[in-house]
Symmetry: D2
Subunit: 333 residues, 4 copies
C-alpha cells in the first residue's frame, strides 16, 4: 500500500520534500497546505495533489502521515495537534526556538505515543552515513576527535536572521546533531566563540555569522565545529573523524567532477550551491526511512528527543559565548 | 501530456530504462514485452504497467514511443517495423552486428521519417557532458589529443562473448561514439592492437579482452582508447582532452566519497561496480532528452547515423588488428 | 665568504640542522659540542667538523654563529652567553619552559643587540609559505577563520613528556606560532580543551595528549588548532585559511605520490613519518634564511619575541583548560 | 674516498648534473670542459672546479669518471675515447642519432670492458621508482597495459628541433626506456601516429610535435605513449600501469601543494615548469647510483645496451608513421 502524505508548508524546504516523495515508489503526496495560496497552488500543480487546509488534513481519513515544513514557531503546536490525533509526523528542525517549549512538546509526543521524526537530513547523506557506518564497523578504532566544517554559501537576508533563533539554533544545530550521531556518547561540555565577520547587519540583529565550537564528552572525546555564513566556493560540508586506529573523512561534493588544467593551474568547479542540491540524496533517503518506519511500525530516528538534545547544545553554545566559559550541558537541562 | 512508452525487452538494460522512465515527471511506462514471461511479469509488477506482445504494442494507439532493449539481432527489424508505423524509437546500441544490415536499416529509417535515437548513454553523463560543454565554450582551445580509458569491472561469460560481436562492436563502440562526440571532426584513420590477457576463453572464441586504439582526424588530431575487460577496482571510465590552451579531464566516480587513513595509507572506496549505477544519471538524462524530442518534434541525437558511424570504426579496428596496419575509414565505407 | 657555524647539541634535531648546513653553498659546520661524547663524535665524523667544548666555541674567533640544539633548560643561558659575546644565535624552540625566564632572556638579547633567530621551522615550509604568500597577495581577501591540524605520528616516551613542558609548550607552540604568522594580527583570547585519549601514562604525568584550541583576535578572527599525539597514518600537518573571498589550504605531504587501485579501493601511501623528513625543505630554507641574515646584517625572523609570544599563548591555553574559561592574553602578560 | 668527476659540457643539463654532484657526500666535481669558454667559466666558478680541455681530462690521473653532456653528435666518440682509456662514463641520452653508429659504439664499449651508464633519469624518479618497485613486489599482479603521458611545457626552438633527431629520438626515447623498464619483457611491435598540431615550423623541419604510440610485447602486453610538445599547465609526466590484480599510478608533481577555493572553483598551482625542477631528485639519485657503481665496481644500469634498445624503438616508431603499419622490432635490428 502506498503511503499517503500531506505536506504542511510549500516553501523552499517543502518543495525539496515534495520532490523526494515524488521519486519514492511507495509514497504519494496527496495534499498540501500553505497560508500562501500561490505557493500552495504551484506545488499542488507540480505534484498533482490537492490543496487542503491544515484542519482538513487533520480530520481527513485519507492521510497516513504529515510532513511539517511550516515556519518554526508553528512546529510544536502542529506536532502536538497531529500526534494527538495519532497521525505520524515528520517535522523540520528545530522543534521550537524556545528550549522549554521544545521540551514540553517532546513530553506531549511521548504521551501521545505517535511516531515523530525530526528533519536532521545530514544523517542520511550517503557520504556521512558511510563515515558513520565505517566507525561502527571499527575501521578507525575508538573515536577521539571529530572536526565538522559547515559553511553556507552566503549569508541569509536580515528578515531570515530575525526569526532564525540565531546561528547556533539555526545553522550549528545540524552540526550538533551530527556530532551526537557520530560520537556515540552524550556531549558533556560546550565551549564556543562567535564573531561577526561576514555581514555587519547580522551583528546589528544580535546574531553572529562565524562560530567555532568545541564539544567534549565524559570520556574526553572532542568535536570541533567551524561555521561561517559565507563560502565563496559553494556549500562547504565536511566531516573528519580521528580515531585510535586511523581517521576517516567525507569530502565536499560538487555537481560535476571535472578538472581543467591551464596556465593558471588545475581547477575543479565550485561545490554544490546549497542544500537543495548537495543533500538531494539525503532528503530522498530521509523520506524513505520515514516511509519504512510507517510501514514497519518502528520508531523513527532522529526522534524529537534528538531535536531537544541538539537545541540544548545550541543554548549552551550561546551561553558560552556570552559568559566566556565552558558550559556543562547539565547546567542547561 | 505525459508520454506513454512501451518497453521491448525486460532484461538488465531494460530495467535501467524502466527506472529512468519512472522518475521522469512527464513520461510513463504503459507496456512491456519480453519473450521471457517471467522477466516481463517482474518488470510489469514493479512498474505497474501492462504486458503486451510486440504486435499489440505495434498496433496500439495508446503508445507514443518504444524503447528497444531486446537482443541485438532483433534491433534492425524492430526499428524498421516501428518507424514504418510512425512510432518513434529509442534503441540500444548497436543497430546490428553486421555493418551492411545497420546501414540498410538507417536508410529505411531515413525513408520512414520517424525519429530514432541510439542509446549512447555516455553522452548524457553529467561529467562527460561538462567536458563536452567546456570544450565547446573554448576552455581548452583547439582539441589536439584525447585519451579515453574504459575498463569493465570483469569479463562477461562466454555465452555473452559469443553473441557480442567482439570487443570493438560491443565495448569500444561506446568509446568510438565518445571520440566522435568530443572531437567535433570525423575520424579518418583507425589503428588498433588487441590481446587476450584477461581470460583465455575469450581468445578461444576468437575475441580479445584488451585493446589499444589510435584514431586520427583529417587535421591530425589523435584519440587514444584503452580498453580492458577487467578492472579489479571497479568500472573505470575516464576521459581526458588535451588542447592548445589546456587540458580537461573527467574523473572516475564512486558511490561514496570517503577516505580512510591508517597505517597502510589513505584509501578511498572502489569505483561504481558497473554501468547500472555509474551511469544512473546518464540514463535518466538520456530518456529525458528523448522525451523532450518527442514533445518538441525535434530530431533526436545521437541518431541512427551515429550508430552506423561507430560501427564503421569498430569494423576498421578489427581489420587493423588483423592486417597490422592503419585503416583509412574510407576503406570501410 | 662561507659562514662558519658551530652546533651545540648533536641529538635528533641537531643532526637535522647539520644536514641543512651541509647542503648550503655558503655555510660550513666547523664545530660541534655535546655533553654526550659519542653523539658528538658521530656527528663530527659525518660532517668532518671538530669537536669543541661550549667554552671553546664561545671563545673561538673562527666561528660566525651558533646553532643551539641542546636541552631546553640550557637555551636561555646559552642565548645570553653567546649574544653577550656578540655571536649571532639560532636557537631551537622553546626559549625556556618558564615564561618569566624566557622574557628575561629576551630582554637581555635586546640589550646585547645581537641577532637571535627562533627555530619555528614551519614558517619556512614551502607549502605553508605559499599559503602565507597567497594571503599577503590578497588571494582570499580578509582572513576570517584558520584551521590548523597538527598530529604527531606517535606519542613520545614518558621521559620526554616529563621534561617537555607539556603538550602546549612542546607541541602546540609550533601551531601558536603558525597562527600568529598567518593571522597578521595579535591574538587576544585563548580557549582550550585537553584530554588524555592516547596514552594514560601521559595523564599520570599531568600532561594531555589531545587538545583543541580556539584563538581569537581583536577583530574577531578565529583560529582553531587540533592536536593529537598519535596519527597512525603519519605526521599530519595541515593548514586551511578561510577568507572573505575564498579559502586556501596546504595538503599533507607524503614521500611518494603513487596510488594503487584494487578490490579494496584506491590507496595512497602514508604520510611522512615525522618532522625530519616532512620538514626537510623547511629546515634547509630556515638555515638559508639565517645565513642570509648573517650576510646582510638584517634582523632574523622569527625572533626571540616571537618565541615569547608563542610561549604566552601556551601558558594561556593551560590556564584555560584548568579554569574552564576563555583567557584574555593580557591576563598572562 | 671521494670520487673525482669531470664534466664534459656546461650547458643546461650539465648544470643539472653539477648540482647533483655538489650535494653528493662522496663525489666532487674537479674539472669541466666546454668549447664555450663563458659557459665553462660560469660553471667552474659556481662549483669551484678547474677548466680543462677534453684531452687534458682524458690524460689526467686525477679523474675517476666523466659525465658527458656535450652535443649528441659527440657522444659516441667521447664514450669510445674515454672507455678505451678505462675511464668510466656517464653519458646523456641518446648515444647517437644514427642507430648503426650507436650500435658500433656499444660494441666498442663491450670490448673496452669499462662501465658506461646512460642518462635515463626517469628510472630514478622516486615516484616512478615506487611504481616499478610495487610492480616487482606483485602489488598489481601481472602487468597488462601501461599508459605513459609525457608532455613538454612548450615546444623547443627550430634550432633545437633541427639537431634533435626528431620527436621519437629526442623526446619519446625517455618513454621507450620507461616502457622497457616497467614492462619487464622486451617490446616486439611498435605502432605510431604523429602530427603537427603545436607549431607548423616543426612540421616544416620534417618533424612532429604530437605523437601516439602503441607498443606490444610477445605475450600481448600493451604500452600506450602520448606525447605533445606543449602543455600550458606545466611539465606533464604521468605513468599508469594496469595489471591483473589492480592498477598503480604516479601522479604529476608540482612545486607546492596548495589549493585555493573561490567563486571560480578549486585551483591547485601548475606543475613543475620543466625537467630541471621536476626531476631534481631523480638526477641526484641517478648520480648517486653511478657513484655507487664506481665504488662497488658493479655494472651500471641503464646501460649503453638500454640506450641502443630505446633508439631502436624510436627508429621503429618513425618507420611506422611513414608506412602506416605496425613495425616488428626485429625488422629494425
Amino acid at each position: 500500500m502506498v503511503k499517503r502524505l500531506a505536506l504542511l508548508g510549500a516553501g523552499r524546504i517543502g518543495k525539496v520534500h515534495a520532490q523526494a516523495i515524488a521519486t519514492h515508489p511507495r509514497a504519494k503526496l496527496v495534499a498540501v497546505a500553505d497560508a500562501n495560496n500561490e505557493a500552495a497552488q504551484a506545488l499542488a500543480a507540480a505534484t498533482e495533489c490537492k490543496i487542503l487546509s491544515i484542519d482538513e488534513i487533520l480530520n481527513s481519513d485519507q492521510i497516513d502521515a504529515v510532513i511539517i515544513c511550516t515556519p518554526t514557531n508553528t512546529h510544536a503546536n502542529l506536532i502536538e495537534r497531529f500526534t494527538a490525533k495519532g497521525i505520524p509526523v515528520f517535522c523540520e528542525k528545530p522543534i521550537d526556538l524556545d528550549l522549554e517549549r521544545a521540551k514540553s512538546c517532546a513530553d506531549r509526543v511521548t504521551n501521545n505515543q505517535t511516531p515523530v521524526m525530526l528533519g536532521f537530513n545530514r544523517r542520511f547523506d550517503p557520504h556521512f552515513k558511510a563515515v558513520h557506518d565505517a566507525i561502527k564497523a571499527g575501521k578507525i578504532g575508538a573515536i577521539e576527535m571529530i572536526t565538522i566544517t559547515s559553511r553556507d554559501p552566503g549569508a541569509p537576508p536580515p528578515e531570515y536572521i530575525k526569526v532564525s533563533g540565531g546561528i547556533f539554533r539555526d545553522m550549528t544545530i545540524h552540526d550538533f546533531d551530527m556530532a551526537r550521531f557520530l560520537l556515540g556518547e552524550e556531549i558533556s561540555t560546550v565551549t564556543a566563540q562567535a564573531s561577526v565577520l561576514v555581514d555587519p547587519q547580522i551583528g546589528e540583529l544580535g546574531d553572529y555569522d562565524s562560530a567555532s565550537i568545541i564539544l567534549t564528552t565524559k570520556t574526553g572525546r572532542h568535536c570541533i565545529i567551524s561555521n561561517s555564513r559565507r563560502a565563496t566556493y559553494g556549500y562547504d560540508q565536511r566531516i573528519e573523524v580521528h580515531g585510535s586506529l586511523g581517521s576517516i573523512s567525507a569530502e565536499n561534493q560538487r555537481p560535476v567532477s571535472i578538472e581543467i588544467a591551464n596556465q593558471t593551474g588545475y581547477t575543479r568547479p565550485p561545490l554544490h550551491d546549497f542544500f537543495m542540491t548537495r543533500y538531494l540524496d539525503a532528503y530522498a533517503a530521509e523520506i524513505a526511512t520515514f516511509i519504512d518506519c510507517l510501514e514497519q511500525g518502528s520508531t523513527p530516528s532522529p526522534s524529537i528527543t534528538d531535536g531537544v538534545a541538539a537545541l540544548t547544545l545550541a543554548e549552551a553554545a550561546l551561553l558560552s559565548v556570552k559568559e566566556g566559559r565552558t558550559i556543562k550541558v547539565g547546567e542547561i537541562l
